[in-house]
């Protein structure tokens, strides 16, 4: 599954008897370039290179000692590439698509993120997945700003046969609180809050999210992030996480050809897991995040 970035490294290291520091540094330049082209955050790339160098140097010493006069068993280029892939899978994982469930009351899921990242669509996808697992769902239209946002969620709700709580021009905090009461009355298992897209630097709107969190205490707060985002992934994810202490990320639009380096960036800078991925526009295009599927895509 190696594409040209790593083919380059393989060719460079081919035929060498062993890895040494000079060769490793040279290969790391190619890794650096490939990861930056994949939109991995600049500082995350630096950290990744340090980790890989440390392991690669450690490996050469170990292999040298173990195979004193014998030929080295693993080809150096394969070992180096394996170290890179393992390090990436290690940083991206482990698999964690868990939802915190409330045993006594409706479980709440709050979706937040930048404008256009895919929150409303993801609300529908999440609802469909939960229903597949036998749960009843209530969708809450907490975006009162975007033209026809409520209508958009209502269309999704009707496609799924799910009720949508909405109130034009009402305060989003009140909408969410009232929705919980509706869910309790109707004995619904899960409530999903679809919030308006916003900039992390919009003080008023970030306060609104903090207010929704304070008043409704959602068990799950997911930051919905467009997988084609570049270096801004760091600012964005840290800002949302600092204000809301998110439970995890949902990366969308991974059905395109973006390398998706932001996946590594947001995980690294916040420590929070990638829970789910969106892989298409229709409501069934949604699955748990599994790191092995993305390591070679990001490494190139």
């Amino acid at each position: 599954t190696l594409s040209k970035g790593f083919k380059n490294i393989k060719n460079k290291l081919q035929g060498l008897e062993e890895l040494n520091e000079r060769v490793i540094d040279d290969a790391l330049q190619d890794v650096k370039r490939s990861l930056l082209e994949a939109d991995v955050a600049f500082d995350v790339v630096k950290k990744f290179l340090r980790n890989v160098k440390e392991k690669a140097m450690g490996e050469t010493v170990r292999v040298k000692v173990k195979h004193k006069d014998k030929k080295i068993k693993i080809k150096p280029e394969d070992m180096f590439i394996k170290i890179c892939e393992d390090e990436l899978v290690n940083l991206l994982g482990p698999v964690d698509a868990s939802l915190k469930i409330n045993e006594y009351e409706p479980t709440k899921i709050m979706l937040v993120g930048l404008q256009g990242s895919g929150k409303t669509t993801t609300a529908g996808k999440m609802a469909k997945l939960l229903m597949k697992n036998g749960k009843s769902v209530l969708l809450v239209a907490a975006d009162v700003y975007r033209p026809a946002a409520i209508e958009q969620l209502k269309v999704i709700g009707s496609q799924l046969g799910v009720d949508v709580v909405a109130k034009e021009g009402e305060n989003p905090v009140k909408i969410c609180k009232d929705a919980i009461e509706v869910a309790k009355e109707k004995n619904i298992d899960v409530v999903i809050f679809d919030t308006a897209g916003r900039l992390a630097i919009d003080e008023v709107l970030m306060k609104e999210l903090e207010e929704i969190k304070k008043e409704t205490n959602p068990e799950n707060i997911f930051l919905v992030c467009d997988a084609m985002i570049g270096q801004d992934a760091v600012n964005m994810s840290m800002a949302f996480d600092k204000r809301l202490d998110v439970d995890g990320f949902i990366m969308t639009k991974l059905d395109g050809d973006t390398r998706g380096g932001a996946i590594l960036s947001v995980k690294e800078v916040t420590g929070k897991p990638i829970k789910f991925v969106g892989i298409g526009e229709s409501l069934d295009k949604f699955e748990e995040f599994r790191p092995e599927g993305y390591a070679s895509r990001i490494l190139g």
Binding site: G116, A148, E151, Q152, Q159, G230, D232, D255, E281
Partner: protein, 280 residues
């Protein structure tokens, strides 16, 4: 002196980091740094201020070189037909609302064409913008052929002697072959109905986009033609540096900038302002 040279290496690395972090991309950053390095050595420059000025000038040069005036040619053909295209969620529909408003301030009569017949409530969303910005909307039922809506809107434009038709299209990832073919079909229909149409194809690029933005631009340029770029969401923390690579590699002019979610939040692209904000 050798001490002077050492300072420049560190300073160059710092500036390289700034460029990479603004999504300018590895290849374009290398070229910019390389040119700056040559100029420093040639002029024996030694202070960070001079280096920064050189880099800024180089980026401005890339952004402004070869691009004919940002004003779209005054076309005698009526209506002028503008397609707005791009991947999902970048701000196409909102940009159309803003563009219509700007055109209406110039006294232009605008028709918006609801050719996103796919996404939930896309037509309703455009209807709100049409009402706000003073445009007439041509629409059909959800799920109808986008090309049929286009055809109707061009008919309506001729009938009502409209100045401009702006076509809202569904978000589409450039990797979806059938969706890109759909755009080609719409171009053909437009050109048959109105001479030279589409006269403008605006590709909307989200300022937060990373290196995939360059691939998007290449694909849309090839499949639907692109005559200008709109970069949206520059009111956020993202620097939008990917447009530097797009301009450098494809020479598509950047025409408009989205700086917010309101109708007035659209300004003409200004290379000086853009470059200054890269380093602010």
């Amino acid at each position: 002196t050798s001490v002077g040279k050492k300072i420049d290496e560190n300073v160059l690395e710092d500036l390289e980091a700034i460029l990479i972090k603004s999504d300018i991309g590895v290849a374009t950053t290398e070229e910019i740094i390389e040119r700056a390095r040559r100029e420093i050595e040639r002029d024996k420059l030694n202070d960070r201020e001079a280096l920064l000025r050189i880099i800024k000038e180089e980026i401005k040069r890339i952004l402004m070189e070869n691009s004919e005036s940002v004003e779209s040619k005054e076309i005698d053909v009526k209506p002028q037909v503008i397609f707005v295209v791009g991947v999902n969620g970048v701000g196409k529909t909102t940009t159309i609302g803003k563009l219509t408003y700007a055109l209406s301030l110039e006294g232009k009569r605008v028709i918006v064409c609801a050719s996103d017949t796919f996404r939930a409530a896309a037509i309703e969303q455009l209807e709100v913008w049409a009402k706000r910005s003073g445009a007439e909307i041509v629409k059909k039922s959800h799920g109808s052929d986008p090309a049929a809506v286009l055809y109707d809107s061009l008919e309506m434009a001729k009938k009502k002697d409209a100045d401009v038709v702006i076509v809202d299209t569904a978000g589409r990832l450039h990797t979806k072959v059938n969706l890109m073919k759909e755009l080609e079909k719409m171009s053909r229909i437009a050109s048959k109905k109105v001479e030279g149409a589409p006269h403008e194809v605006l590709l909307v690029i989200d300022a937060t986009t990373g290196q995939n933005g360059l691939i998007q631009a290449k694909s849309f340029l090839e499949k639907s033609g692109v005559t200008g770029i709109v970069v949206t969401k520059l009111d956020g923390t993202a620097k939008g540096g990917i447009i530097v690579s797009i301009k450098r590699e494809l020479n598509i002019p950047i025409k408009w900038v989205g700086i917010g979610e309101k109708m007035e939040d659209l300004i003409r692209f200004d290379a000086d302002d853009f470059v200054e904000s890269l380093f602010s």
